[in-house]
Amino acid sequence: MKRFFLGWTRFVVLLLVLQVGLAGWGAVTEGEERVMRFIAHVGNGGMLMFWLMLSVVFALLARPGRKAVLLTVLSAVMIFMQGAFAYGFGDEGAGGGVGIALHALNGLGILAVQAAVARLAKRAVDVTRAPRVRAGSEVPA
């Protein structure tokens, strides 16, 4: 389960990096409504909300350490704030600008937190594997 959590978290990190790219894609797409210009970003973002909720469940099952679990919960909370930043500040003007600026910074934050979780998950996998390797190498002469 710890190995699965590591792989899953790395998958989520990959999708978060892709999400930054899709934001760039939407920035130069033309159309009327912002939601439709950023549809790839919105779609992937909606799925990421669900994936990070699953991450919380997986973290509780995999038990990769208290810090990793709490950081996973934090990133799930932060990704829900993304919706508030994107839709809660209006569509234009300085208000809308500040909203998406916070959305961008919060998104970078989610990526950083998930990268930290992946590092912690890797450490948890290594810790469980190390004693077994040492026990196996004790071959009687």
Binding site: V17, G24, W25, E92, A94, G96, V98, A101, L105
Partner: protein, 137 residues
């Protein structure tokens, strides 16, 4: 190693990392302000120009710090990537598949620049610490 210039380079890389993160927020501001690439992106462009010169200035700092070849090559790579960001912005055509694919890479390249600036700063920091530890011994 020239410790004074190495310390300046360390702080310089922290500044560049900060400006690169701010650049992400300013890009978001431009999107939220009007959407089209002209209106709200003034600060993103100004900060982008500043980043080009400030990142280029990191190369002579890395040379003067004499902390090895890696910081020199990494700052040169960073300055080249910032130049690439400007190039991508110049040849972009909004509303086309070409422009969209290009700006997908523009955003990812910006993300890579944050990681690169952070790692370069961490490398200089570690070399400074290693030197301090060796002097204490």
């Amino acid at each position: 190693m020239n410790t004074v210039f190495a310390k300046i380079l360390r702080i310089w890389m922290l500044l560049l990392t900060l400006l690169l993160v701010v650049q992400f927020a300013l890009a978001g501001f431009g999107i939220g302000y009007g959407g089209a690439l002209e209106d709200g992106f003034g600060m993103h462009f100004a900060n982008g120009n500043a980043l080009l010169y400030l990142y280029a200035a990191a190369i002579p700092l890395a040379l003067a710090s004499r902390a090895g070849a890696a910081p020199v090559w990494l700052t040169a790579l960073g300055a080249f990537l910032v130049l690439l960001q400007h190039g991508m912005a110049l040849v972009n055509v909004p509303g086309t598949l070409w422009g969209q694919s290009l700006f997908l890479f523009h955003a990812l390249n910006g993300l890579a620049l944050i990681v690169l600036a952070h790692r370069t700063g961490a490398l200089v920091r570690d070399r400074l610490r290693g030197r301090a530890a060796a002097a204490a011994r």
